[in-house]
């Protein structure tokens, strides 16, 4: 890898440090009674309300449909994701320092795999919350489940749910795209050299 590419990679890897503060994902809910909306931010180590009381409000509303309470402490991911991110940043910096092409491929693949696993995990939790409903719930609609989308919008009874990357998510997407672009460039120039 040329020097500039290693510098760009290093900068991108360092930018991933912002994920310790900036949330990855945002789920927003609006309804006629909630024109100002309710929202959840999902970070690598926390789930918080968009406004201070939003998480409690969402839990309060969810009890009508028999959804389990969202208790951030019950998610093991929130404990080990910060460590995984540390590993990703550490190895990323090593790759940038080393400049080895194959190491870059491996690191990019590791990052992509981790991101995919994260999205699958988000879907899995959404599915669990949306389907594992208390049979004694006040509101029971045959065939209705309440799984929020991973990306995009969906109408759930009177609420419209929107799920999109938040600031940290966009940073991750950008850095991953950067890594892929660098890897592709390395691959093309390597092929050119061997040809």
């Amino acid at each position: 890898m040329p020097r500039w590419a290693r510098a760009v990679l290093a900068a991108g890897v360092l930018a991933l440090g912002s994920l310790y503060a900036a949330p990855l994902w945002h789920i927003g809910l609006t309804a006629p009674q909630y024109p100002e909306g309710l929202g959840l931010f999902i970070g690598i180590d926390r789930i918080t309300g968009e406004k201070p009381q939003d998480l409690q409000s969402i839990n309060g509303l969810n009890h009508y449909i028999g959804m389990k309470e969202i208790v951030p402490a019950s998610f093991p991911e929130l404990r080990y994701m910060p460590i995984l991110l540390g590993v990703l940043i550490g190895t990323g910096l090593i790759v940038a320092a080393w400049g080895n092409r194959r190491a870059l491929y491996a690191w990019t693949a590791l990052f992509a795999l981790g991101a995919a696993a994260g999205l699958v995990d988000l879907w899995r939790w959404g599915h669990d919350y949306g389907h594992d409903l208390n049979p004694r719930a006040a509101i029971k609609i045959p065939g209705m489940s309440y799984q929020p989308p991973v990306i995009g919008g969906k109408q759930l009874l009177n609420f419209h749910a929107d799920s999109w990357p938040a600031l940290g998510g966009w940073v991750a997407i950008l850095v991953l795209s950067l890594a892929v672009a660098l890897a592709v460039r390395e691959w093309i120039s390597a092929r050119a050299r061997s040809a």
Binding site: P52, Q53, Q56, S57, G60, Y64, A138, I139
Partner: protein, 652 residues
């Protein structure tokens, strides 16, 4: 005079026109042609200003939006208010305590917004109670009464609260002079006194403290304003009945040509108090405050600093003013002091700079009760001729004009502060008392509108039996001519009002109480902690409310003769989700519990049986299901205390 008569005749003719045009869709009487467009606020849109109207003898404050005249809220202050449980719940009862005990009503007159650097700041609203003299402070992030202080040695707390510069003090004056200190004496022959009271306002917290009182001759002190700018160290109080009549005042107090405005040098008063020249009096008075835990507590205080005129020279001067003056209002520059002589044929405008010169020159016309009377000619800046009959109150637009309400001829007049000539007049329907320009009593009026606060509505609304609605009217004052835009009904008697641009208040609204920070001594923060505790014949129910159930909602083991305290905590943390609580046979009211708040209702079961309680504020789709039962057994019955939820065993 003749043109006033013509005005009155014109007014009567317009009444006749209304009667004649009854039921037709004619043009609105007196209104501008574009009035509808000027006051229309489309659904879902906000008004431009908040207006705070005194609820008069309802004892509360009403909040309206301007220019629409839509009622937004009623804030209970001096009166019990069952809709909110105010003055009924254990947390709010103490707010209505006085040295005479619990007093569930008063007559609220003059709202006053707090001021910073000469401008209304939207932090607090003060209002006086007239009957058992009190001053209340309302917090405008919650629209709730936070503090009430009683004024000792006084009665008829009408000339109040009228802030001094930068919200330094609120004041109160004695309207019905009394034996001072209070004691048994002959009404006819006894010597009565008046009291001008200064209550210090803490600039950070708003907390009030009775700083000092000034003992003055026994006239009827009516209204007040404090100076601004050059006159900021002075406060002015009108008085009538310098005749000191004690019976049939309507005639006996109207004999002299002139009565007096008492001009009080507040800095001189502070210095006299600081140098130990005040006497210590010991009349009890109540001071009621809401603590950090949200619970109102009442303290009876027993000491006040009273200044005698003789002990503090230069403290008070009398400004002779024609015929039983009512309002005294100071213009935004602080130079002009406008008096409304109820029975006068002119509006006298005193000059503050002339007043200072007259004091320096000792231009006195004798003295009364040790108070120098200044020469009328030495202090007068001008007299407004032909003001109509019965001028009362004046507000200012900050553009060099004054607007005076005129009661008997039922109109608002506008006059120039340059030449004191009347430049416009417009009828009020009917018998206007106070008038109000947003910020029109401050150094920096917001202007744009003037509101007439009327005493009589007669034919302006659909009739409702002998008692008709109270009413206010909104006029545009942006042009040379005042234009009537809107009539809107009000509650109680809207004595006075204040208004402020919405932007100074709306973004600072508290939406809920933080449950985590709830420090009520009887809070229940989670359903697992609900319980019922018996202490002798007192039973404390620690209850939670959340959409859509109470916990516990089954309680047994209560006996006839018990006092049951329902400590209901609303666990919601979402805006606009209060829960109500009502109990069959409760001899007080409901509770209305805001999100995160705890409120306590006391209930005394009279007869054995099973009694339901329920949520009164439609909270959710399953609001009708939000109910519970409480079993009452005979006194001494063996039914054990039991409940569901928490560690309770009932229903398991």
């Amino acid at each position: 005079m003749s043109s006033s008569l013509a005005r009155r005749i014109a007014g009567l003719m317009s009444v006749a026109a209304v009667v004649a045009g009854c039921g037709t869709a004619g043009a609105p009487v007196g209104a501008a042609t574009d009035a509808a467009a000027r006051v229309y606020v489309a659904p879902g849109h906000y008004d431009e200003m908040y207006a705070f109207l005194s609820g008069g003898f309802s004892g509360n404050v009403t909040v309206y939006g301007l220019p629409s005249g839509r009622l937004l809220q009623q804030i209970p202050v001096f009166s019990q208010y069952p809709e909110k449980g105010y003055g009924y719940s254990e947390q709010t009862k103490a707010m209505l305590n006085t040295s005479y005990g619990f007093i569930p009503w008063d007559d609220a007159h003059h709202p006053q917004l707090s001021i910073t650097n000469g401008k209304s700041d939207g932090r607090w609203l003060f209002i006086n109670g007239n009957n058992t003299p009190r001053i209340a402070r309302l917090d405008l992030t919650r629209f709730e009464t936070e503090e009430i202080i009683e004024i000792p040695n006084s009665s008829g707390g009408h000339g109040s609260p009228f802030l001094t510069d930068n919200s330094g003090y609120v004041v109160s004056a004695t309207r019905f002079s009394l034996p001072t200190p209070q004691r048994d004496m002959s009404i006819k022959d006894g010597e009565f006194g008046g009291m001008l009271s200064f209550v210090k306002v803490d600039s950070a917290t708003g907390r009030m403290r009775l700083a000092f009182q000034i003992h003055v001759p026994g006239y009827d002190y009516d209204l007040s304003r404090s100076g601004k700018g050059p006159s900021k160290d002075w406060s002015f109080f009108t008085s009538y009945n310098s005749e000191q009549a004690k019976t049939l005042l309507e005639s006996n107090a109207s004999q002299k040509d002139k009565d007096y405005i008492a001009a009080v040098n507040r800095v001189a008063a502070e210095q006299c108090v600081a140098s130990g020249r005040a006497k210590d009096w010991t009349t009890p008075y109540a001071h009621n405050t809401v603590g950090e835990d949200g619970v109102a507590r009442s303290e009876i205080l027993r000491s006040q600093k009273v200044l005698e005129i003789a002990d503090c020279p230069g403290l008070v001067y009398f400004l002779p003013t024609p015929k039983s003056p009512h309002g005294v209002d100071v213009d935004p520059t602080g130079e002009f002091i406008v008096a409304g002589g109820k029975l006068a044929t002119v509006i006298p405008v005193h000059s503050f700079s002339k007043l200072q010169k007259a004091i320096a020159d000792k231009a006195f016309d004798g003295e009364l009760g040790g108070i120098p009377v200044l020469k009328y000619e030495a202090i007068i800046a001008g007299e407004v001729e032909n003001p109509g009959l019965g001028p009362l109150h004046t507000e200012f637009d900050g553009k060099g004009f004054a607007y005076t309400s005129v009661f008997i001829s039922s109109e608002i007049i506008k006059f120039s502060l340059t030449d004191f000539k009347v430049v416009d007049r417009v009828p009020a329907y009917y018998s206007i008392g106070h008038l109000m320009i947003p910020g029109g009593d401050t150094e920096q009026p917001f202007g744009k509108y003037v509101i007439a606060l009327n005493k009589i509505t007669k034919d302006r609304y659909l009739p409702t039996g002998p008692e008709l609605t109270q009413s206010a009217q909104l006029y545009d004052i942006t042009g040379d001519k005042m234009k009537l835009l809107l009539d809107f009904p009000t509650t109680g008697e809207p004595h006075y009002a204040q208004a402020i641009p919405a932007s100074l208040i709306k973004d600072r609204q508290q939406k809920t109480y933080s449950l985590a920070d709830n420090r009520d001594p009887h809070v229940t923060k989670a359903e697992k902690d609900v319980k019922v505790v018996r202490q002798g014949t007192k039973v404390h129910v620690y209850m939670t409310a959340i959409r859509s159930h109470f916990l516990p909602d089954m309680i047994e083991g209560i006996q006839v003769g018990d006092s049951v305290f329902f400590h209901v905590t609303n666990l919601e943390q979402d805006w606009d989700v209060p829960h109500g609580f009502a109990m069959l046979g409760a001899q007080n009211a409901e509770l209305l519990v805001m999100p995160g708040q705890t409120r306590t209702l006391t209930w005394q079961p009279m007869r054995a049986g099973v009694y339901p309680f329920y949520c009164t504020d439609f909270c959710s789709a399953l609001h009708q299901e939000m109910q519970g039962y409480l079993r009452v057994s005979a006194k001494g019955a063996s039914v054990p205390l039991a409940w569901n939820g928490g560690a309770g065993t009932l229903g398991k």
